[in-house]
Amino acid sequence: MPVKVSMTVNGKPVSAEVEERTLLVNFIREHLRLTGTHVGCDTAQCGACTIEMNGDAVKACNMLAMQAEGAKITTIEGIAAADGTLHPMQEAFREHHALQCGFCTPGMVISAIDLVRRHPNPSEEVVRAELDGNFCRCTGYHNIVKAILDAAPKVAAMR
């Protein structure tokens, strides 16, 4: 029996008829065609599916679309400026070669933004601990950590 689900995604109200068992990540990728949010493990381990719900980073593969009913969602497609200027966190990832294949990057960037909002001036130790839920199989993390440390003051200054 399909149910109606409505939420705001990247500032736009969206709604659709979905099956109850539709995962939020499938709603985002298959219904909204926002394929920047990735599915790496599908078992809540890797963080590739990380999106922001009402200001908090969550794993979209481990929750139902219905659990996001009425929520404000931000995906990787929603963080650059309207004119296409990259978000400072994206720019820092580019600048520091914080990605190789790029598969983990959307989740990394969303987690990184969430992290620096709570820790505007994080130490390297805090960055590494807070990235616990985001796996990267390419970079070895060093450049990701550098990018986040570099972007932190710029992101903090944005708000």
């Binding site: 029996m1 149910v3 068992r21 809540a44 969550v58 139902l64 659990q67 969430d114 839920g133």
Partner: protein, 265 residues
């Protein structure tokens, strides 16, 4: 995941009525354990009753004697709460060590203790601090709540509404993480309540348990040395590719000693 019907409960009464009508229905809290189990088809409820929008189940209150935490309060909220950090820093720390940031943003206290994963952290806090679990029907003492692997004293249709943690004189939690899952390989909560000392161990056995010998020794003298030579028997402890029962038994002593050290700081 098999198909199911879904609805949001308006309040606790509405959720209880839903469970009374359909005995196979399941409550949905953060979904961090349940959705994963349903995806693996380990669980296949025909109906989910979502507690997510019941505001009465969410929040933290501290009255100087107890910290009362609503069942739907998320791990991240407990970890960040100034009330919890002030009254029971060990509890805020424990919540901050659950899973990762994204799991803590969804997972709830009620869901964690109802699920009673053998390696979950909260059971150590509930038993270690001598908390009381409040449901829509009664109050359950911590020592009577956790029954065995994934098993609790909850009756069918019973809903956890809050947990009341008495504020201890001093307490600390030490967790040795299973590095891949971040669950507790062994986690020990040591609490000096002012009247007695409680030592609760999670991760090591099929279910959280207390170590009476350590409690007695710490009751006489609250110091790391009091537990340094107390070993728990490895018989009946968990054994898997991550750690043998013997190693887990060893970790209980090490973590207990570190927890006492931390509680004294």
């Amino acid at each position: 995941m098999y198909a199911f019907t879904y609805r949001k409960a308006k309040d606790v009464k509405d959720a209880a009525a839903g469970l009374a009508k359909n005995a196979d229905a399941k409550l949905l809290a953060g979904g961090q354990s349940l959705i994963a189990a349903m995806k693996l088809r380990l669980s296949a409820p025909p109906e989910l009753i979502d507690l997510g929008t019941i505001s009465e189940l969410r929040g933290i209150k501290s009255d100087g004697k107890n910290v009362v935490i609503g069942a739907m309060t998320r791990h991240a909220e407990v970890a960040a709460s100034t009330d919890v950090k002030k009254a029971i820093p060990a509890l805020a720390y424990l919540a901050s060590q659950i899973g990762d940031r994204m799991v803590r943003n969804m997972g709830t206290l009620g869901g964690a203790i109802a699920h009673n994963d053998p390696a979950a952290d909260y059971p150590a806090a509930v038993v270690g601090l001598g908390a009381t679990v409040e449901t829509n029907k009664r109050k359950i003492d911590a020592d009577a709540f956790f029954k065995g692997i994934y098993e609790t004293a909850l009756d069918p249709g019973e809903i956890i509404t809050s947990v009341s943690f008495p504020i201890p004189k001093r307490a600390a939690y030490m967790k040795f993480k299973q590095p891949a899952s971040r669950f507790a390989m062994v986690g020990v909560m040591v609490a000096d309540t002012g009247k007695d000392v409680r030592v609760a161990v999670t991760g090591a056995g099929p279910c959280v348990f207390r170590v009476k010998e350590m409690e007695q020794a710490l009751g006489k003298k609250f110091a790391p040395d009091s537990v340094a030579n107390i070993k728990v028997p490895d018989k009946g402890l968990n054994s898997d590719i991550h750690a043998s029962a013997e190693y887990r038994a060893h970790l209980v002593t090490v973590m207990a000693k570190r927890a006492v050290e931390a509680a004294l700081k």
